[in-house]
Amino acid sequence: MNNEILYLSLVPAIAGILIFILGRKSRALSETLALLGTVITFLIAVKIFGQTAVQGGVLTFWNEELRMDALSGLIAGLVALLGLIASVYSVPYMRREVEMGVVPAERMGVYYGWFMIFLATMLCATTVNNIILLWVIIEGTTLASIILVGFYWNRDAIEAAYKYAILLTVGITFALFGCVLLYSGASQQIAGGIDPLKLTEIAKVAGKIPKSIVLLSVVMLLVGFGTKAGMVPFHTWLPDAHAEAPTPISAMLSGVMIKVGVYALIRTVLIFYPFYSIVSTLVLIFGMITMVVGVIMMMMQEDLKRFLAFCSVTSMGYILMGLGLANYLGIYGAIFHLLNHSLMKALAFLSVGAVIYSTHHRRVPELGGLGKYMPFTAVAFYVAALSLGGIPFFNGFISEFTLFIAGVKAGFPWATVIAVAVAILNVAIFFHLTYQVFMGEAPENLKAAGIKEVPVMMWGGMLILAFLCLLIGVYPQIVSPILNEATKAVFATIAMP
């Protein structure tokens, strides 16, 4: 019995409930409770991360209903880290929104309350070892974030919230059908006395489940959890939700929430790889389509947040490509890119949030020359752009390069060729965007407005993320033992024929 698994999601959940009860009238109390909750959660996650992702251990609770291995430990660590940074960032960012009259002060309790519940659901998703509860919690992450996506409650925000809610809820209902089919197929093969709801038990009998049930459930799971992960063609909610949510929430959605969808796919779909090669081929094809559509859509964007949202679609394509390659290096590369993307995309969103905070603009043609006025933000964005563009010595390069090699080694050189082409386009787009926003001359209206650097509570977190992106880029060996443990954990749950 490892009680810390329980505390991991219980602490933010309790903090969220307390904020709903006590924080309605006091903004400061809401902020304090949220900060306290995220700090304690982060400390618990660090402990779990050490025990699982670093030492390779497996933690269990309540007769293995909750179970954490290196992969879940790594994702939980990422969620908790970004949760902490986003909550600290939220304090000045949302105070400014209140001062500007964008949102009333009394709604801050709602913001921080849902923020903590959202955090709790994402952390809980990494701990459950029960296929139906996994579905329940994944749907919970959507439900907890709908109000946050529509938080500004203007026409665009409500439209985004509606699309987000309906698309993800319908998508996830497909996943429920998939989970039920999987459970029903597995329960016939599992001996009496053993719980057929457990993911680890289902994985053991994956090869014995009838092929028709496997194929139908895999399609349903890909539609359901793929919608959550922003997989094309089920990605249409993503740009709207990422663009219209308050920036700290955009960072959480893009940085970690879509990864929870990938995590669910890893736990439910990859278990069939050794038995049905069509499953990995399907994932690979979806990955390649996602990557190409994402980068084409990136080129058409003028809104900074929508641009980054489509960049997330492209990155999810890379992650799915790695998973679809189905070899050790491919899955290692996918997990590596998942880690890197969480860091660099959260950094990019927080930097763009800083630009919006200072200039009140987010359309690229309205911006320019900000590097002079916002040096910390500029450095953070440069690091994010170079990492996302896949430039050597930045973390994005290492994981993308790993995926390229994995593609060739797995016998899919065409996938590598497409991925390289997408990466080259990515670099060009990011260089162009960075120049337009941070270099050259600032427009007169921005100069006249007296733009200046954001408070330390905002750039502090950005610099931590920038440092991590650089550290992994220059010295990738620092994370390779962790990634090895996480990849081994994936293979440990897959039964071999």
């Binding site: 139906i132 809610a165 209902t173 429920l176």
Partner: protein
């Protein structure tokens, strides 16, 4: 179960008819009442299946509380706050009925004939479980149809509820031994999803003046 096969078939057919009515009735309040009737039918089905598998009595109770009481109450409350007239759909009565009928007949026939494709065991391929599975898949796709072609946001929620009823109904055949905690988790999610969706739709009504989803075109590309 054989002695109840006729009753089960009749109730299953009634569930398909109520799905038709939920989709086609233009008065949203009547659609909500029809949903309530469908939920009562589903609870009755669970109760009949529970004669052999007593655990299903608990399912019938859970479904009654959530689907007969809470969800219709939420629907009627928000319909009162907005409007009870469905926004003119993209496809008229005749076209819609023809399309749904085609979908239902094809799906029902295919599922009923090739039940082995989805049935996890021999037991599930026998009547009345075979019919149950065919009906649940038909209802699932009727819900999907409603979501895809209806432009009224509240009607879309009705579609989502039909979709979810399809999955819920399939559990009798696919997962009769599912634990209560898992079932409570599923229905709790559904209730919360409906509540939050209706809250957001009320926001749409306030900001846009109607619940027409075709108006939501501000965010494109």
């Amino acid at each position: 179960m054989q002695e109840f096969a006729k009753i089960i078939s009749t109730i299953s057919l009634s569930m398909i008819i109520t799905s038709y009515l939920i989709i086609e009735l233009r008065n949203l309040r009547y659609s909500a009442y029809m949903y309530m009737i469908q939920a009562v039918l589903m609870c009755t089905l669970f109760a009949i299946f529970a004669i052999e598998n007593h655990g299903l009595y608990y399912w019938a109770m859970t479904a009654f509380v959530t689907k007969v009481v809470i969800i219709p109450w939420l629907l009627l409350r928000y319909i009162k706050k907005t409007t009870d007239r469905e926004f003119q759909p993209l496809i008229g009565y005749l076209g819609s009925i023809f399309l749904i009928s085609a979908v239902v007949v094809i799906l029902y026939r295919v599922t009923h004939s090739y039940i082995g494709f989805v049935a996890p065991s021999q037991f599930a391929t026998a009547e009345p479980f075979r019919t149950n599975l065919a009906v649940s898949l038909s209802i699932f796709f009727m819900g999907l149809y409603c979501i895809l072609v209806r432009r009224d946001a509240i009607k879309t929620v009705h579609g989502l509820l039909i979709l979810e009823n399809g999955v819920h109904l399939s559990l009798v055949t696919l997962a009769p031994a599912l634990r209560e905690t898992a079932l409570i988790g599923i229905v709790t999610d559904v209730v919360i999803a409906v509540w939050i969706l209706l809250y957001v739709i009320y926001g749409i009504y306030q900001k846009f003046g109607s619940t027409d989803t075709l108006q939501l075109r501000g965010l494109r590309w």
